[in-house]
């Protein structure tokens, strides 16, 4: 009797993380943007300031990455604070 070898292949697909990006705008105050990052993400003041400065000097900052549902929630929160925020798929 011929032996049959069954080959099984397991593929694990990890959910691609999504980015929450905040873009620079000349109206929102630096202190305000820092405060919003602390409130929305629970970041320390130092971390919030780092992101704020990245937005200010580089024009944008990825402020959070993770599962899409959560990213959508954060984008909505940031829009509630009138920041320019977008949901983006990493390239």
């Amino acid at each position: 009797m011929a032996e049959t070898l069954a080959e099984s292949k397991t593929e694990t697909r990890l959910d691609t993380p999504w980015n929450v990006v905040v873009h620079n705008d000349p109206v929102n105050l630096m202190s305000y943007v820092t405060m919003v990052f602390q409130k929305v993400f629970g970041y320390s003041r130092e971390k919030a300031q780092t992101h704020m400065l990245e937005v200010h000097y580089r024009g944008r900052s990825i402020v959070w990455s993770g599962v899409r549902e959560r990213a959508e929630f954060y984008v909505q929160q940031l829009h509630g604070y009138l920041l320019l925020a977008t949901l983006e798929k990493p390239e």
Partner: protein, 173 residues
């Protein structure tokens, strides 16, 4: 005008000049009456690339009305606080509102600044300048108004973060 956090978890605006009182009254009015495509686009900016069609559709249907309601609620809080402006003897007035209204103030002031900046199409460089314009055109006065609201925002943020020691008032303008 002086802005300070009081010990009883409230924020006081004191020594408000008549012109400052008028600018405070305008905070909620500017937000209600914008009707300007540029201002609308800035208040309700796109949350994703156009390729995210379903997400954008859902956003328009569910999130945008919520945001509109949120912004309106903040302006209402400010409108009610400003309606309590009381004139003291002489020309100054004063108001006190709970610290819990602070975020509504930040939102309403931000809405007003964003709307004015969009309506008058200020360039980034103009907004970055905090100088008194050489000639007081309407545009120059609007820039002063935007900066006046920014100064109030800074003080309210400090009050919310507890940086004020409770009694040292700071002169806004």
């Amino acid at each position: 005008m002086l802005i300070r956090r009081l010990n009883d978890d409230s924020i006081e605006f004191a020594d408000i000049e008549p012109v400052e009182a008028e600018l405070l009254r305008q905070v909620s009015v500017i937000g209600e009456a914008h009707g300007d495509a540029g201002a609308e686009a800035r208040l309700f900016s796109a949350p994703a690339a156009p390729s995210e069609t379903q997400f954008l559709k859902d956003w328009e249907e569910y999130v945008r009305p919520e945001l509109r309601h949120l912004f309106l609620a903040a302006r209402k809080v400010v409108e009610e606080d400003v309606s309590t402006l009381s004139a003291k003897a002489g020309r100054f007035s004063r108001m006190v509102f709970p610290l819990s209204h602070g975020e509504a103030w930040l939102s309403a002031l931000n809405q007003a600044r964003l709307i004015l900046a969009a309506k008058f199409d200020f360039a980034d460089a103009e907004l970055a300048l905090h100088e008194v314009p050489k000639t007081l055109t309407k545009r120059g006065l609007v820039l002063l108004q935007i900066n006046f609201y920014a100064a109030i925002q800074e003080r309210v943020i400090e009050a919310l973060q507890g940086e004020d020691d409770g009694y040292d008032a700071v002169d806004v303008g």
